[in-house]
């Protein structure tokens, strides 16, 4: 688990649940964030799902939301031990 991946996991656990939001919180570029999301999803650490309502109902495009799986939560705990500063980096964001 790289530091960047751990950071993305951390912000998802903090409530950021879609790509652009994660970009905003982490300050990472879209070309970095989305491939990380794919990798984490492939590894079973996060789960992606489409907004249940149809786009016509919402009057806007459907979003794809991400949330941590149990494996993702366990991995985040281990990542926090490995990257202690991660807590500080996102602490402010968590409180928001």
């Amino acid at each position: 688990m790289t530091h960047t991946s751990a950071l993305v996991l951390k912000v998802i656990s903090g409530g950021c649940n879609y790509g652009f939001d994660i970009m905003e919180r982490t300050g990472l570029q879209s070309g970095t964030v989305y491939p990380i999301l794919r990798r984490l999803e492939d590894s079973g650490l996060i789960l992606a799902r489409w907004e249940p309502q149809a786009a016509q109902q919402l009057q806007r495009p459907q979003r794809r939301y991400y949330k941590l799986t149990r494996a993702g939560e366990r991995t985040l705990v281990k990542a926090a031990l490995r990257y202690p500063l991660l807590q500080n980096l996102t602490a402010g964001e968590d409180k928001r």
């Binding site: 790509g19 879209s30 070309g31 989305y34 491939p35 794919r38 979003r63």
Partner: protein
């Protein structure tokens, strides 16, 4: 809505659409939907938060990230198995087969230096009226053994013959030229004028070009370029003797072999015992047989016994192209050997029958061309001996080589054609052994192969019997196609 914000937004959407082509087709729609939605929210969020400044560049920057994500999608699916499957599917197609054969032809063309021998054999010989140029050797066609002509015979022919315009002598051997071993031809002064050869400056040799020129040489174009970098030396050292260089031959000029680098001019000093190669120019409308009869009669008139006076006249153009007859003979033999064993199933009315036939003809034709070119360029098949005859060491070998090449080509081509789908011409896959080897009548053992596009399957029996067709093609109906599309 701000017009300045719309344009980058549209550009960003276009970028995402372009990046979507990189994503594998099965996940492309979902991928594009997510990116379009994210772009929409990115624009809305930035505008709501009052971050209008640089909004366009931020949106485009955001969309450019889609290419990285798309590339990840594409490369992520490139597992070893996927690559193997993609390559395997690609190599099964008919177009790949033709492409591969085309590549073989390209490799032969490039490695041979753009087919110099083939061009030499096919193009018009670089002489004036080349069809009237012929070599003369002592011997008989039935013996297939030739020897050189005596110098004095050439002198008699020059003075007494009415059917030839001239006769020039030549012979060659390997010598050291300026510390470089090369083939040096020794020719009579009228050699180049008889052939109608030209210099590199396109100047034609005259019959008196070498008068009083006892120490003159002419260089071949290729030798001049390789040995002297295109700078003509005033003189060269041939086996320790210095010669003056008086001309460089035209780039296209060659005579019997392209390996001759230096042409040494020998002034006519008749040596009764010496034997040389002889090249003659026939008068217009004179046949080889007429010239032969006259030259023999001239020699016999000088008291030479009939058996010793037998000569062979070989037209140079015919001799140069004899290799193609050798190939044609090999091809006919190969067809005669292989075709009787093939049961051709003519189905002219079947759908795609013409396409299959066209594919078979193209594939076989291209491969035969490859065999011919390889034989011409990489063997000594087109080699002609100094006396204009057949090289007894190389010609039988090259004929066998052509024969084996043609047989191999035809065998493979027929085998390949049989193992291709009757509809899409893809090679079959998923070969499976079926049946019980012991149960001869009830369960005939064989191999079943399936078209991976789902068009049908081929059953090839293990042993071909007289009452059973060798191959059985079974078309699959459209209901099964879905099974195969899942595998793509």
């Amino acid at each position: 809505m701000n017009r300045r914000a719309i344009e980058p937004y549209l550009l960003a959407r276009c970028l995402i659409r372009a990046a979507a082509w990189i994503v594998p087709s099965r996940s492309r729609a979902d991928w594009q939907r997510e990116w379009m939605a994210e772009l929409h929210y990115a624009r809305r969020t930035l505008r709501e938060e009052g971050r209008e400044l640089g909004l366009g560049s931020r949106l485009i920057g955001f969309a450019l990230g889609a290419f990285q994500d798309a590339a990840w999608h594409r490369t992520h699916t490139w597992s070893g198995e996927h690559i193997e499957r993609t390559v395997a599917r690609g190599t099964e197609s008919a177009s790949f087969c033709l492409f591969a054969i085309g590549m073989i032809l390209a490799v032969i063309t490039v490695t041979s230096g753009f087919l110099p021998r083939t061009r030499a054999a096919l193009l018009r010989l670089p002489y004036t009226d080349p069809d009237r140029i012929a070599t003369v050797a002592q011997g008989d066609t039935t013996l297939a053994v030739r020897s050189g002509i005596r110098d004095e015979w050439v002198r008699w022919w020059r003075t007494d013959s009415h059917l030839i315009e001239g006769a020039a002598t030549y012979f060659w051997s390997d010598k050291t030229v300026d510390r470089r071993s090369t083939r040096v031809a020794t020719v009579s002064p009228d050699f180049f004028s008889l052939l109608g050869a030209r210099t590199a400056e396109k100047r034609r040799f005259a019959s008196n070009s070498f008068e009083n020129c006892s120490d003159c040489v002419v260089l071949s174009y290729d030798f001049w370029r390789k040995a002297y970098d295109g700078k003509a030396p005033a003189s060269i050292l041939v086996d320790g003797t210095r010669f003056r260089v008086i001309a460089v031959l035209n780039k296209e000029f060659w005579f019997l072999t392209r390996r001759i680098g230096v042409w040494e001019i020998r002034l006519d000093t008749v040596n009764h015992n010496a034997k040389t190669g002889v090249v003659i120019r026939l008068r217009p409308d004179v046949t080889d047989a007429q010239a032969r009869a006259e030259l023999v009669s001239i020699v016999q008139a000088q008291g030479v016994n009939p058996w010793s006076s037998l000569i062979v006249i070989s037209s140079l153009s015919t001799r140069v192209r004899a290799v193609f007859w050798s190939f044609a003979l090999a091809l006919v033999l190969a067809i005669g050997t292989i075709l009787p064993a093939v049961r051709v199933n003519f189905a002219p009315r079947s759908t795609g029958g013409a396409v299959r036939a066209l594919f078979f003809c193209s594939k076989t034709g291209l491969l035969l061309v490859a065999v011919l070119l390889a034989g011409l360029e990489f063997t000594r098949a087109p080699s002609i001996t100094m006396l204009g005859g057949t090289d007894l060491a190389t010609e039988p070998f090259s004929t066998w080589l052509f024969l084996l090449g043609c047989m191999g080509t035809l065998t493979w081509s027929i085998y390949d054609q049989r193992h291709r789908c009757r509809v899409c011409l893809r090679r079959f896959g998923l070969a499976a052994q079926v049946g019980c080897r012991g149960c001869v009548f009830l369960s005939w053992a064989g191999t079943e192969m399936v078209c991976l596009e789902g068009h049908g399957m081929l059953r090839v029996p293990e042993r071909v019997s007289s009452w059973q067709r060798p191959d059985q093609w079974m078309s699959l109906d459209d209901s099964l196609v879905e099974l195969f599309t899942q595998d793509r």
